[in-house]
């Protein structure tokens, strides 16, 4: 095993980690805002990937244009989920925590079924010509362009999220997170903030989905493993923390890649799981979580 192979695998892991981080950021944003875990989060990623595939195959829309279209689409989906389901679940007086979990679980099963019904269960790939196959070589280290592009876009998306948090809206978001009842008194429409939060959280996943679709397989069940990694990433980084999601995503990507290299590719998740259990024991609120 050469040093360049290890470096190549590590960089590949970090690039994948940026996608994990962005998926986790959407989950974390929604959780931080209203204490709800979206168990259909992986299925939003799946929807975004199919949207990218359809845009590419039927309308010949290139990657750069797919990004805003799918992000806007997912924003709409997120707002619709909030308005149609979550806002109602928030009003439930009995067992509201459990209702929220199982509503989003029901939604995830529904979306997987819908995708199977529309596209079948076959694995599909989006072959975007040059972007999908090109590689960059640096000495003996070879990396696919699609993954580098994906990592770069995810970093940009993180920068955008950080900027949003500094705007007027970001402050309203923060205030709503702090005390969701008190904000009404200073004229912030809580419902409006929540639905925008869901929109932005879903749009974030939309961007991750488009970039992932450029080099990963697409299938109705593709979301599950990404969702599980997102839950772990968010728990590692600390629920509600943007920086935590970024750092934890990178760590998860790196650990996964190195476990696959040094132990066994079929056991690649075991490294992540072990890390999760360790953090759970030592620091249950995550690396950057607030008490």
């Amino acid at each position: 095993m050469t040093a360049s192979l290890i470096i190549q695998v590590a960089i590949g892991g970090l690039l994948m980690g940026l996608i994990y981080a962005l998926v986790a950021a959407g989950l974390s944003l929604i959780f931080g805002l209203m204490n709800i875990v979206n168990f259909a989060h992986g299925e939003l990623l799946m929807v975004a990937m199919y949207a990218a595939l359809l845009l590419h195959d039927h309308l010949h829309v290139g990657l750069l244009l797919q990004l805003p279209i799918v992000a806007a689409l997912l924003f709409g989906v997120g707002v619709a989920i909030y308005r149609g389901l979550i806002s109602r679940a928030l009003g439930v007086r009995f067992n509201s925590g459990m209702v929220q979990i199982f509503i989003t679980f029901g939604l995830s099963i529904f979306l997987v079924g819908l995708a199977q019904f529309m596209f079948g269960s076959d694995f599909r790939t989006l072959n975007d010509g040059a972007i999908s196959t090109a590689t960059v070589a640096w000495g003996q280290i070879v990396l696919p362009v699609s993954q580098i592009a994906a990592g770069g876009v995810c970093l940009l998306a993180f920068a955008a999220l950080a900027l949003i948090s500094r705007t007027e809206f970001g402050r309203a978001l923060e205030a709503t997170r702090e005390d969701r009842d008190a904000v009404a008194l200073i004229g912030i429409d809580r419902d409006h903030i929540f639905s925008l939060g869901w929109g932005i959280g879903a749009a974030t996943v939309g961007i991750a989905g488009v970039m992932l679709a450029s080099f990963y397989y697409i299938a109705p069940s593709v979301g599950t493993s990404f969702a599980v990694i997102a839950y772990i990433t968010v728990a590692l980084g600390g629920f509600g923390s943007l920086l935590g999601a970024l750092v934890a995503g990178l760590v998860v990507g790196l650990v996964e890649a190195l476990t696959a290299l040094f132990i066994d590719p079929s056991l690649k998740e075991i490294g992540i799981f072990a890390l999760y259990v360790l953090v759970l024991m030592v620091r249950p609120r995550g690396l950057f979580g607030r008490q």
Binding site: F31, N35, I36, V37, L85, R88, A89, V92, R93, F94, N95, S96, G97, M98, V99, I101, F102, I103, F105, G106, L107, S108, I109, F110, L111, V112, G113, L114, A115, Q116, F117, M118, G120, S121, P220, T224, V228, Y231, I232, A235, F239, D264, S266, L267, E269, I270, F273, Y276, V277, L280, M281, P284
Partner: protein
């Protein structure tokens, strides 16, 4: 608690026992009246999930700790009894107790780090522990890895839980399982543990200040819950005759185990049975009618049903009969 209130609870619990006995007699007669193997097979599954979900309900319902990793205990039960049978020739009627014991022990092991977490944090932690089990079994050659284990047919006997025509005996085996799970739930509901759990569920900080030992209470609920689930796994393995990692350790199974209680009425005695009686036929019939050609419609119906029921009947279908959750009742009776 006043004497009158205690008396009301006693009467209510006796009525529950009577209704349970009546229902048991009805369910003993039912498979004789329905000769179709299809319907008898459906009854097997309904009773299996009623028992499993009753077990989940002890921890998730009464104690309020929403586990999304119960497939771990199910899978351990299934693999334990199967391996004891195929490797050592120990009959599954003994193996299922070993499976239950291991399920309960695993629930304690998972509970130890996880019970410090609350709400969604706990749910996600259990989900991850379930997946750790799945991953390990998938990569463990000695237990068949991803290919699973086919259970060879040894002889027609109740000791081995193997039958040439398997459906009717399993109606009764699962009925015994569901009835015992129900009885355990009935017993613990009225015990001191039952009151502790409801106190923990409602407000663990307040209950601690009142002298309830929160952590041991949760551990007790986990052990009972995991043991019931493990026994169910062992019975499932004998019924199907084949086990593999996704069907016994999968994440979707953890959800399937929880759903009947959630849909029927979480923290109630009858919720899991009612939920299983509604959900399992819907799922099975939609798979049979719609699963093949128009793949996916079955999942849309199932997911949609869960979503709608959770939204419009958060207290569970049981509330249609005017029965509330255990916590709600306790408050009323004490007041």
């Amino acid at each position: 608690m006043t004497g009158a209130a205690a008396h009301t609870i006693e009467t209510r619990r006796r009525t529950q026992l009577l209704v349970g006995a009546g229902l048991l007699v009805g369910l003993i007669i039912l498979p004789v009246l329905i000769p179709s193997p299809y319907w008898r097979g459906l009854m097997v599954l309904v009773l299996l999930y009623a028992g499993l979900s009753q077990g989940w309900n002890v921890l998730g319902g009464y104690c309020g700790q929403i586990s999304l990793g119960h497939a771990l205990y199910f899978g351990l039960g299934a693999y334990t009894s199967t391996l004891l049978f195929t490797r050592l020739g120990i009959p599954p009627t003994i193996g299922l107790f070993a499976g239950g014991a291991l399920g309960g022990a695993a629930a304690l092991l998972v509970g130890w780090p996880c019970f410090r977490l609350s709400g969604h944090y706990y749910a996600i932690a259990t989900l991850v522990f379930g997946l750790i089990g799945l991953l390990l079994v998938e990569n463990w050659d000695w237990v068949g890895a991803a290919e699973g284990i086919t259970i060879p047919f040894r002889q027609q006997s109740w000791i081995d839980l193997q039958f040439r025509i398997a459906v009717l005996p399993f109606d009764y085996a699962m009925l015994a399982y569901a009835a015992l799970a129900w009885l355990v739930a009935w017993l613990v509901e009225g015990s001191r543990w039952g009151f502790y759990w409801r106190a923990v569920k409602d407000d663990s900080i307040a209950s601690r200040s009142l002298g309830v030992r929160v952590f041991p209470s949760k551990m007790a609920a986990a052990a009972i819950s995991g043991a019931i689930t493990g026994v169910g796994g062992a019975l499932y393995a004998q019924y199907i005759g084949f086990i593999d990692p996704p069907s016994t350790f999968g994440l979707s199974l953890s959800v399937l185990i929880a759903l009947p209680a959630v849909v029927g009425g979480v923290g109630t005695l009858w919720g899991p049975l009612l939920g299983a009686a509604v959900l399992i036929p819907v799922q099975q019939i939609s798979i049979a009618k719609l699963g093949g050609a128009a793949g996916g419609v079955d999942l849309m119906i199932y997911g949609g049903l869960i979503l709608v029921l959770a939204l419009v009947r958060p207290q569970g279908l049981i509330s249609l009969f005017g029965i509330r959750g255990a916590a709600g009742d306790a408050v009323v009776e004490n007041g």
